[in-house]
Amino acid sequence: MNQTSPSRLIGAAVDWVEARTGAIAFIAPLLTHHVPRNAKWWYVFGSATLMFFTIQIVTGVCLATLYAPSAAEAWESLRYIDEQVPFGWMLRALHGWSSNAMVVMMAIHMLQVFLHASYKFPRELNWVTGVFLLFTVLALAFTGQVMRWDQDAYWGLGIGASIADRIPVFGNQVRGLLLGGPIIGGETLSRFFALHVFVLPGAAIGLVGLHLALIMKNGISEMPKPGETVEPATYRERYEKRMEKDGVPFYPDAAQRDMVFCGACLVLLVVLAAVYGPFGPGGQPDPTLIDTNPRPDYPFLWIFGAVSLLPPASETAVMLVAPLVGVLVLVAVPFLSNAGERAPSRRPGMVLIASLAVMAIAALTWEGKTSPWSPVMDGWSALPTPGHFIDGRTPLQVQGANVFQFAQCRNCHSLDGLGGERGPALDAIATRMTPDQLMRQIQQGDGNMPAFGRNLDSAQMTALVSFLTTLRPDFEAPAMIPGAQLPLPVRSMPGEVTTPVAAGTR
């Protein structure tokens, strides 16, 4: 003890603590346990998921110190965090992006485990705890979206509540339990805050601990090799022998790759947060504001897409039964087959199922992200009729263009690519529909289109149809009655030769 360098002091302190707790003796085997040598970059996704979860806890605790979980103040407090608190917006951005990254990383991890059949004996319960973790994390993501307390949150809750309402017999009670009352109100936010900040993170931490304990107990699975089958009777013995002979210590061999990958993920996360910033808050959660286009967050867009495409008659059955079936199937995976081949090349059916699932979720996410299910509510008052549809028209047709705006056609139909996309673009409608067909369509509606017959008088209807019959590219013929060679009595463009029926009758 004649030298008192800092490193010696630290060493002495560590020894002192170790003598009283045995912490190193506990941790050291965890770090040095042997893992398969060939477990290369495939095995980093679980660690990255855990890293994102840790970031969620740290940023979440910081946010909890700033956020006001009351319906009256939540939205304002987010604006306050974004605009006033130093680094506040960055904190929210990290929490939001890390949440999405955790879901993505978890999905990749799960996909890898599924493709390599790592869930087979003796790791069935690793998979089951993983499935529970998946649903816990998705629940965290949903309740986290509610924390924003904006229009997306409001309508997301509305959809959730109306799904709960569909449950037979107990629907009302379940909805009341979810919302803390019959409607979305102050208690709803408190309820979801408690779930998001206490219940679900607690459950997730417990499940992560269990998941890790099972990994220590059962070891990391080897890379699958065709022909090397899992036999429950002999698997453990063979695995242990192989690890003794061929394994490498987790730290530093495998941990290095984990660290490098996690580091890269961290850098990507910071870049995403710095460039794209936090999510929302969107508009005020006010049910009287209908000029809104609410969408759920990324992890739920595919469900949003799928539910929107359901035929109405099947909604209740699918919405209530599909989630149950999904959970059961996922939990059942290791019990349906826990022995035999693990290599993807020997399990083409499983590879096909995984590919189909990925493609379906990707396609439905795209659908949920891009589909124009909401009209452009201010289209009628904000998007003028393009000049080339006004130039050269008769006064009546120009009035028809006014009726087009007045009746809010533009909210659902685009001209020159601007306007709603619920209905078809009308730039060339006159090449597809005759005046009679247009008149019928507007008066009676069809499919998704409402009937306007009672809302427009005869002059408005005549002017509107007259305007619509001019919506065709030059040199393209107007629509005709099939089989008839003469066009219908179209209200002609000025200067055009008209059929005898058209001229002067109106």
Partner: protein, 235 residues
């Protein structure tokens, strides 16, 4: 000991990175949410915002837009602010909806005033409303208007409802959709981008345009052709 050292180095690098980020760049990163500036009522920015969301769908500029273009100066020479305020609050004619509080619309009278003077400041070209002619519809004689129409208007709009190169303005369907005030504004302001002259601009057969009394007569004539009820219409 090497484990600790590596840990220290990692910590140091992360700390350095974080502090560099915080001091140098955080306020200028692209992800930082913009502080939403609500433009003060009456500023040009406010006028533009309100106009773009609530008016522009019909009243644009040049050939664009189906109703009187408010982003061109023509209209601002033909109309007074009071008239614009009334149209905004109470609507006008058949197709212009009321945006005032009585109709459940979004604009208060003070906002309508600010909007009218703001639009004039932006697009009026610095000109006051014309003193040569009223902005609002004046009484005239339909009989005299008929002969004015035949000489001054029919060369483009056709005589006796036959249309002509600019299309019919005597079409009963058209007249049902436009008020007398709308006709008045259309004649007085014209729409240069579409080739319609203002009232005092040269027209075929009328090198010096119309007199203000003639405008009143023509509007009275067109008004007299308007069917009074739907049953008079034969679509």
């Amino acid at each position: 000991m090497s484990v600790l050292r590596v840990g220290f180095i990692v910590c140091a690098v992360v700390m350095c990175g974080a502090s560099v980020l915080s001091t140098a760049a955080c306020d200028r990163l692209p992800g930082r949410p913009a502080v939403e500036a609500v433009a003060a009522e009456g500023t040009a920015e406010w006028t533009t915002q309100v106009f773009n969301t609530s008016c522009r769908g019909c009243h644009a500029q040049g050939k664009e837009g189906s109703a009187v273009p408010l982003m061109d100066s023509e209209y601002w020479r033909a109309a007074t602010d009071a008239q614009v305020v009334r149209a905004v609050l109470e609507g006008q004619g058949v197709l212009m909806p009321a945006f005032g509080p009585a109709a459940g619309g979004p604009f208060t009278p003070s906002q309508a005033n600010a909007l009218a003077s703001g639009m004039r400041a932006l697009w009026g070209g610095g000109l006051k409303p014309s003193t040569a002619i009223s902005g609002t519809v004046q009484a005239g004689s339909a009989d005299r208007g008929k002969s004015v129409f035949e000489t001054a208007c029919a060369s483009c709009h056709g005589s006796a409802g036959s249309g002509g190169s600019a299309g019919s303005v005597t079409d009963p369907m058209y007249l049902r959709l436009i008020s007398d005030q709308g006709l008045w504004t259309a004649v007085v302001a014209g729409r240069a981008a579409l080739g319609s002259p203002a009232w005092n601009m040269p027209m075929p057969n009328r090198p010096s345009g119309l007199a203000s009394a003639e405008v009143a007569d023509v509007v009275a004539y067109l008004s007299s052709l308007r069917p009074r009820s739907a049953s008079e219409l034969k679509p």
